[in-house]
Symmetry: C2
Subunit: 760 residues, 2 copies
């Protein structure tokens, strides 16, 4: 083993060489990181700490602290993400109710809190307590009648507009990155892209505040996606406190993956589902160590949220349910139908939303984001108020749709005609004929469904925080509940039909419309996001029973297949493409039969590759080359004739090194020869002092031969996280392939516009 040689030889071991200059090893904004280099740097750091730890007890303790810092970061992320989620829940609860009225005893109470603290109310009219006053009662002392209704209607619209205006202004002025769901950008960042400020402290603050505002404003959007963004901002904040993570973009992304898991964990009260979501949907590089830590962060976040207990039911989400009746084989048919509906909805939503967003980007529409938000909010509020299912918050709507009709249920959806002769235990109510309320609810739900479908397409993508989990689930839950009630009534009135005869006798509780709502919600969510395992696990954690996995899975699989038949992209991938981020999806299979030689630059007829020679170029030559080109780096070859590759030099580090040398090193002038070899070249007398740049040379650049199939090249880029790869034939340098080239080639093969890939 030649350790000495090993130390001085590798371009990766810069830390150990003399005089490292500042900013080496960082990246420019909107550029891709080099995973291998980050990993190598972390190993160096780790080696240094391990070898130092044997020197003294203090160093040993420091090394222990370093080893534990990962867990500490996870703990902090879990605590903060859980707390923020709780605060958001409480604030949204209060502000949503503020649109309808105010609590006289304390204005910061929500409707429910107000009436719980009031002693006068009985259980039955929880919703009507004297302390809670609608705006019409407070302002003109009227609670009934047309004028009161109109006043309440106006106040509702007014508050909604106020919240929305505040939100969009805050986003525009303080943190433009706080808009949208954030998941497409987080996926891109986790795959190794740099977007400075996207996970910054301002984004964290503004996104949290505006999230409360927009959800309260009644717009058709959810808080789940943005919560993942908020959790990732927490992760970024805490990782900046520890040099292990702040100085290494690769390690930082491990923390962010875990933070994403914590975000989903609090959004859905599903820690395992959150980890799987992070693994399946968001993360790119997910070592097993991260799995364990993500799980820890997700659990801490869930327990923090539970101890805040924002809904007062010691559950993490409003729409937690437990069903008690089994499902039957014959019901798989409507479940699969719901899956088809979910897939169609997913396709429709993605196509329309992307078309609308593209129009916003390319036309004048995009120049008036505030006006757009105001208009959409006004339309939403005007249409939403008259219909009880759109007036209430979407979470409450989902909760109502998921719930089974118990004996005490007062919802319109549970207005069944009771058989007065039958007395039964509370939790086992047989199927009954539907009453007038149910029929009213059906057409109201149908109208609400159409409205939600249309308005969500226009809402997602505006310059405000907006998630689409909740609207998607609402669409599915409404469709599912309607199908469920339909099947239930069919089974009640026609229990002698052959399909019902075996399992649905009169007087039995055989159909659970709430379960249909949940299956529909899963199908629609699956159609839009194309999540699979994580979706089923999240739903499993929401219902808490292995029993219902099969219906959920049948719907999720159908929905994914149907949606995939119309286009492979989920909504997040579609938005990544729309924005031109350099995201190399792990899930896409590249199956075309092209070779590296077809993709590499220079193409035929283009000027030859810009290279550096190992010992014959002057500082000025290099500076000219840097000025004239915008490449991120240059291959270094023995000489222009032989073109035998010896390494690769990054543009950024060349610039820094030359600047540094000109300032600090004596005798370096424009005419100085730059050399990358160990020994300086033999120069004629009188020639200026040469500049040694071996320390910035990467001596192990990645190479493939020109005959390598592109599927292998794509695989290498994906799995090793490369920025670029050099192409050789029989040892001669032929060209270079960058991540952008790979992405453009993939876009071209898929008949898309290669120019849509904008960043490197």
């Amino acid at each position: 083993m030649v350790y000495a040689g090993a130390m001085s030889g590798s371009g990766n071991l810069m830390d150990f060489l003399d005089e490292p200059f500042p900013d080496v090893g960082t990246y420019e904004d909107f550029h891709t990181i080099d995973w291998l280099r980050e990993k190598s740097r972390d190993t160096d750091r780790h080696r240094k700490i391990t070898s130092k730890s044997k020197e003294s007890i203090w160093e040993f303790i420091k090394s222990l602290l370093d080893a534990w810092s990962g867990w500490v970061v996870m703990l902090l992320i879990g605590l903060l993400a859980g707390t923020l989620a709780g605060v958001i829940d409480l604030a949204v609860d209060w502000m949503t109710d503020l649109k309808e009225g105010v609590c006289l005893s304390a204005f910061w109470y929500s409707h429910e809190q107000c009436c719980w603290t009031s002693n006068e109310t009985t259980f039955e009219d929880r919703d009507k307590c004297p302390l809670w006053q609608k705006w019409s009662e407070l302002l003109v002392n009227q609670s009934e009648g047309a004028s009161a209704y109109i006043l309440n209607y106006l106040m509702y619209i007014l508050w909604a507009l106020l919240f929305a205006f505040l939100a969009v202004s805050l986003v525009r002025v303080f943190a433009p990155y706080a808009c949208g769901s954030g998941i497409p950008e987080i996926k891109t960042i986790l795959s190794g892209f740099i977007i400075r400020g996207y996970l910054g402290k301002w984004t964290l603050l503004i996104k949290t505040v505006t999230l409360v505002l927009v959800v309260s404003s009644g717009l058709s959007l959810g808080k789940e996606g943005p919560l993942v963004h908020v959790a990732c901002c927490c992760g970024n904040f805490f990782s900046s406190l520890f040099s292990k993570y702040s100085k290494n973009e690769g390690k930082r992304r491990e923390v962010l993956s875990a933070a994403a898991a914590a975000g989903v964990s609090v959004a859905f009260g599903a820690p395992i589902g959150g980890v799987l979501f992070s693994l399946e949907e968001v993360s790119y590089y997910f070592p097993l160590k991260t799995l364990w830590r993500s799980f820890f962060a997700a659990l801490v976040a869930a327990f923090t949220l539970r101890s805040i207990n924002p809904f007062g039911n010691s559950r993490l989400v409003l729409f937690y349910v437990e069903y008690h009746t089994p499902w039957y084989m014959a019901e798989l048919f409507p479940f699969i139908l719901l899956g088809v509906f979910g897939g169609l909805w997913g396709t429709l939503f993605i196509r329309c939303n992307i078309a609308w967003c593209r129009r916003r980007k390319t036309t004048r529409l995009g120049k008036y984001p505030v006006l757009e938000v105001i208009v959409v909010t006004a339309i939403t509020a005007i249409i939403a108020y008259p219909n009880p299912y759109t007036r209430q918050s979407t979470s409450e709507l989902i909760s109502e749709l998921f719930n089974d009709c118990g004996a005490l249920e007062s919802s319109q959806l549970c207005d069944y005609i009771n058989d007065p002769n039958m007395t039964r235990p509370v939790d086992d109510i047989p199927d009954r004929p539907a009453g007038v309320g149910v029929y009213t609810a059906m057409w109201q739900l149908a109208l609400a469904l159409i409205f939600k479908i249309v308005v969500t397409i226009f809402t997602f993508g505006m310059k405000i925080p907006s998630g689409l989990f909740i609207p998607s689930m609402a669409v599915g839950a409404m469709a599912g509940r309607m199908v469920g009630i339909g099947v239930e009534q069919l089974a009640y009135h026609h229990h002698d039909w052959i399909i019902f005869r075996n399992w649905c006798r009169p007087g039995a509780d055989c159909v659970t419309p709430g379960l249909y709502a949940m299956v529909g919600a899963a199908a629609c969510l699956g159609g839009v996001t194309r999540m699979t395992v994580s979706l089923v696990v999240i739903m499993f954690e929401l219902t808490g029973g292995l029993e219902y996995i099969v219906p959920l899975m049948a719907a999720a699989v159908t929905s994914k297949w149907v949606a995939d038949a119309f286009g492979k992209e989920g909504i997040y991938e579609a938005h990544i493409h729309l924005n031109g981020y350099p995201f190399l999806d792990v899930k896409d299979e590249f199956t075309h039969r092209t070779l590296a030689t077809d993709v590499m630059r220079p193409r035929r007829g283009e000027p030859p590759l810009s290279v550096l020679t190992q010992d014959s170029m002057t500082v000025e030559d290099v500076e000219t080359l840097i000025k004239e080109t915008d490449y991120n780096g240059f291959p270094v070859v023995v000489s222009r004739d032989s073109e035998r590759l010896i390494g690769f030099a990054q543009r950024r580090e060349l610039i820094l090194a030359i600047k540094n040398a000109r300032q600090r090193q004596e005798g370096i002038v424009s005419n100085s020869i730059m050399y990358f070899t160990e020994e300086p070249p033999e120069l004629p007398a009188n020639s200026p002092h040469p500049l040694k740049l071996r320390r910035i040379l990467n001596l192990s650049p990645f190479t493939v031969t020109d005959h390598t199939p592109m599927e292998t090249v794509v695989d290498i880029f994906r799995k090793l996280g490369l920025r670029q790869c050099l192409v050789t034939r029989s040892g001669r340098l032929l060209g270079i392939i960058t991540k952008k080239d790979v992405l453009r080639h993939m876009a071209q093969m898929a008949n898309q516009d290669p120019e849509s890939i904008m960043f490197n």
Copy 2:
């Protein structure tokens, strides 16, 4: 894009070239596969089918069938694995009881089935029904007394010996691969190693039968690990029915990963835990598509098992429990203590078991496997019978230890002194003082614990199927239950102590000893296998409540940390090392500062690398080279002087190609020049017909420079699944690094014997 060039150029696209000869693209036994090549071959196949599918409707249907075959395979695996698990459970149940007695009404009934069918029994003495006769009753008509006891004792030992002897003989004669747990080998196979017959039909059959025998014989082993092996055999069997999987070793391994998930799913009744186990512990290459399919297979297997319902409780495992009482913060201390115990047990077990297995391998002991099994079985049976906790099957023991003491519980462990003045609902029994039975149980458990610890070390690794999940869990459950009872009695007698005062008032049910047993089981299992997330999820699915995740996680984390402090290897990795399999663990971090040049062969002073030249060697030269060396392949260079690399030729394919050419092609003699270029070299007149071998040349061999840090090389080998990698400097070939070289280097760096890595 130069498609034509692409087609003829790549060495991977052999299918499209003329005259592919048989056996090309297969591997030899005990060799490592090339993942990149397998993937490339699958893409070719896929491309072919896609392009054909546009030709006719029949081809389109065939392409659909091909796309669906993955799901069909999963369905079949799930069905078969679930059925086999059910059959094994039923058979074990019957044969375990056969050691004690026989059912008079039908000899194929187990004790419980026998008494359930008998009408005369009341609920209280379920266990004593006239139809079930102990051997002493049947043979000498005595049910009490010393002679009856001795007769039963002898019959117990006799049956145990018979079962064990049958099992070991079957394994030796029919399927030597059926022994052990199989998980180390499956891990190795999934990482890309070929062991022919390891997952064959004979292994499946014999392992299933002998598993029943050994579990019934009362040896200290479990069926969980072997069930994973059995499920993988099913996976291998079904994948051999579809050419998509049978002809591609890479694709086949995707199926096997899913089968492993199905195996754990039925072993523990935990589908999600099974998938995570496969992901975390077993699998190597786990694309997301596999995640979804694994989940499907695991679910199908679980539902199949549930419909067989082997335990009559509609649960998938004997030891499913539901707790109703919460846990308290102060209890975390004993939980963490149990974690420490689990870690220590894990370390002790791994060290002792590996030392004993090494002794078995290297001394005469290994030559008498049948005798060894007989002796261990005899000792186990003799010691186990007198103690009720070792006499019953280990699953029953775990079930008894996990269960909380309800009102109807008749176990000795629940012999508490009831307060006659207190009447309480059945499921909320306050803490009570322990009775005589509990004290007896305590010392019996202590003896059983010591016995289990010792005997398990000697049992695991014998030439019979043996899993260690169940024995490990039993050890933990016994320790945990004892700690739990201790804490309970402490809390009862000293509820005024400061640590108990806040949460344990007299008359409250504050300590659940069963929960301690479960936490202990998780800790011990974690210490031995070093599973983390999957372990917690499996336990979560066993208890069905998010509530107990924190205690389980605290214990699992502690146990892993304690065990890792003594050595990083889990039991499976230790056995892989012991057997010298070429397994490149994804979890090991390689942090040494060596370079590719330190690892590559030839080393300094060794003869130069054996290479082929592109157009100057004769058939005889190559045959001599093949005869004299045993390398798996040879780099092809332009000429010996320039040493510029153009490709890589596999030994196996060279041999096949030459044999084929000599047989079928005219004019090929020993003097024929072999060439790898597109055009034949210019040869003097009269020289024999040259042999073109370009089609077996891999034109895109993987290369790294000599300065590449070994950590990067290790990463490349891991992530891309390479067999070998060529080392170059400035385009010149310097040497080669094979997977074996990497593993030997890693062993050397970890101060282990590099010669222990035996296969390539």
